[in-house]
């Protein structure tokens, strides 16, 4: 069989099938190799974090999740602080992110939409420290206090572009026939969006929100000069606030016991890593359910 084709084409082209087959194999192999290489950092980081963090976490369990004592800075206050910061960031970032995403998908085929799209892409690549400086100038410099709001604002700024573009993407996937179905019943545009479009894309919006939270949960740089960190836990809305990434940072640069291998810091890293992994798995699970329902 293989010799049939060349004899027929001999007159017009040389048989280069051998060479083409080799090139094909090499290039496909290269693609596989690169795909595998992307897994290396993930497993390296994950493996390292688990190897170092697991003994620290288990060795001090459950004391690690209590308030700090003179024996060491445990993680309770940091976890509380991070939860509070994420809540504030969501309160700021989600309404803006979700609503502007819906605007882009539903009405954004114009100059304003293009501008918003471009700016949110720029913001999505914003170095997190810049978001910190913005929050610092707006809140800390004007009120002369480190405050949870400043940290929440910085994280909200970092979160909303992700949410905007994710929301736009999934809302745009809702078929026009559903939009027109609503409009054809004499339902207003807004009511069609609320009662037909958003329910149809809800799981996708949730996925976007979860990814937005995962994006900011471990941010450290913008927190340094907005909430500063402290050792006493939440002590007021105009006071510094501890946060998990800050605790990790401080534990590594200024360990409580220099001879210890930073056990608290490693435990914090593992907790943060697991949190982000779980958020991503959760987002995937929601998205998979959406696919299963064919939407």
């Amino acid at each position: 069989m293989a010799t049939q084709a060349p004899t027929r084409t001999n007159s017009i082209m040389r048989d280069n099938y051998g060479r083409r087959r080799v090139v094909n194999r090499i290039m496909v192999g290269l693609l596989c190799l690169c795909a595998i290489i992307t897994l290396v950092p993930l497993f390296a980081v994950g493996g390292y974090v688990v190897r170092e963090g697991w003994p620290a976490l288990v060795g001090q369990f459950p004391g690690i999740f209590t308030a700090p004592s003179p024996e060491g800075g445990e993680l309770l206050y940091g976890l509380e602080g991070t939860a509070l910061l994420i809540a504030i960031a969501c309160a700021i970032g989600l309404p803006i992110g979700i609503l502007s995403g819906i605007y882009l998908a539903e009405f954004g085929r114009n100059r304003l939409g293009d501008t918003v799209r471009f700016m949110s892409d720029v913001l999505a690549g914003l170095p997190s420290i810049v978001a910190g400086i913005v929050a610092y100038s707006i809140v800390v410099l004007t009120t002369h206090h480190y405050t949870p709001f400043a940290g929440g604002l910085a994280l909200g700024l970092l979160m909303f572009p992700t949410v905007t573009r994710a929301t736009e993407g999934v809302v745009r996937l809702v078929p026009d026939t559903l939009r027109e179905g609503g409009l054809a019943l004499g339902v207003s545009r807004w009511r069609t969006i609320v009662s037909v479009i958003i329910p149809a894309s809800l799981s996708g919006i949730i996925t976007g929100v979860v990814l937005g939270i995962a994006r900011v949960a471990g941010e450290t740089a913008p927190l340094i000069f907005t909430v500063l960190g402290n050792l006493n836990g939440f002590s007021g809305w105009d006071q510094p606030l501890p946060a998990l990434p800050l605790q990790i940072y401080q534990d590594f640069i200024n360990p409580q016991d220099p001879n210890q291998d930073y056990p608290v810091g490693y435990a914090g890293v593992l907790v943060l890593f697991l949190f982000v992994v779980l958020l991503n798995l959760g987002a995937r699970a929601v998205a998979a359910r959406r696919m299963a329902r064919g939407r």
Binding site: E180, G181, L183, G186, V196, A200, G294
Partner: protein, 267 residues
């Protein structure tokens, strides 16, 4: 049959007066003047791309939803121009219902919620009448017996034909004066098509129905009047060639082009 522009008020009839439709710079429908008789079925037939669906979408102001799309001319509903400056598209659509090519039930809603959606989302449904509206509309759409035991099941659990009849029930629930159908059977199998056609026969006499169809046999079966559109070869726009009683249109049309089309010689 074609009335003058300043025709007197026509009860529940729809009168299209020198209508042009555009998609951006593309002139899609050119100067159509056409009257849709009240409580009768009018079929719009013609080859693909001749502007049938576009014309239909002008009748409930859905054409303008597409970016860059616009309309010139008048559409008189009950004597009132739906393109007048004071006319509100949302209120017009409440009076002119529409069924689409592909069944488009709201996927996150149950069967009964789909039926009542037009009323609920426009804020006009009291709880007490909900059951009644659901049953009346589903009966009118010949779907009641098939779904009465599972009204709370997701609309997407129905077959394609059932979904289309659900969409008809949904459109009927808001008690429109006119019902537009854009190739309502093109995504359905022959048995589901038959059911929808039987349903149209039952609705005729109660509603002013305009149905766009690719299928000439269907037009002949379900309609009282037929309008034939085609593409004007000179400027590639959709024009109305001829309209009249369906019997006449399919037996002895005045225009040679209509005759060629209905006898299958082109299109």
């Amino acid at each position: 049959m074609i009335a003058q522009a300043d025709a007197p008020s026509i009860t529940r009839a729809l009168f299209v007066d020198r209508l042009h439709a555009y998609y951006g710079a593309k002139h899609a429908v050119k100067e159509v003047t056409l009257r849709f008789e009240p409580r009768a079925v009018t079929a719009i037939i013609g080859p693909s791309g001749c502007g049938k669906s576009t014309l239909l979408r002008c009748l409930n102001r859905l054409h303008e939803v597409i970016a860059g799309a616009r309309v010139e001319g008048k559409v008189l509903l009950d004597g009132e121009n739906i393109y007048a400056a004071a006319a509100d598209a949302v209120r017009i659509r409440r009076r002119v219902g529409m069924v689409f090519q592909r069944p488009n039930p709201f996927p996150t809603m149950s069967i009964q919620d789909n039926v009542t959606s037009g009323l609920r989302l426009t804020g006009r449904l009291r709880g007490a009448v909900q059951r009644e509206v659901v049953e009346t509309s589903l009966r009118a759409a010949a779907l009641w017996d098939e779904v009465k035991d599972r009204l709370k099941a997701p609309a997407t659990s129905l077959s394609g034909g059932q979904q289309q009849r659900l969409c008809i029930a949904r459109a009927l629930a808001v008690q429109p004066e006119v019902l537009l159908m854009d190739e309502p059977c093109s995504a359905l199998d022959p048995i589901a098509t038959l059911k929808v056609e039987e349903l149209i026969a039952e609705l005729r006499g109660h509603y002013t129905i305009v149905i766009v169809t690719h299928n000439m046999q269907q037009a002949a079966r379900v309609s009282d009047n037929t309008a034939f559109m085609m593409i004007d070869m000179e400027d590639r726009t959709g024009i109305l060639v001829e309209e009249g009683p369906t019997k006449v249109m399919f037996s002895k049309p005045k225009d040679k082009r209509t005759e060629d089309y209905v006898t299958g010689r082109f299109g």
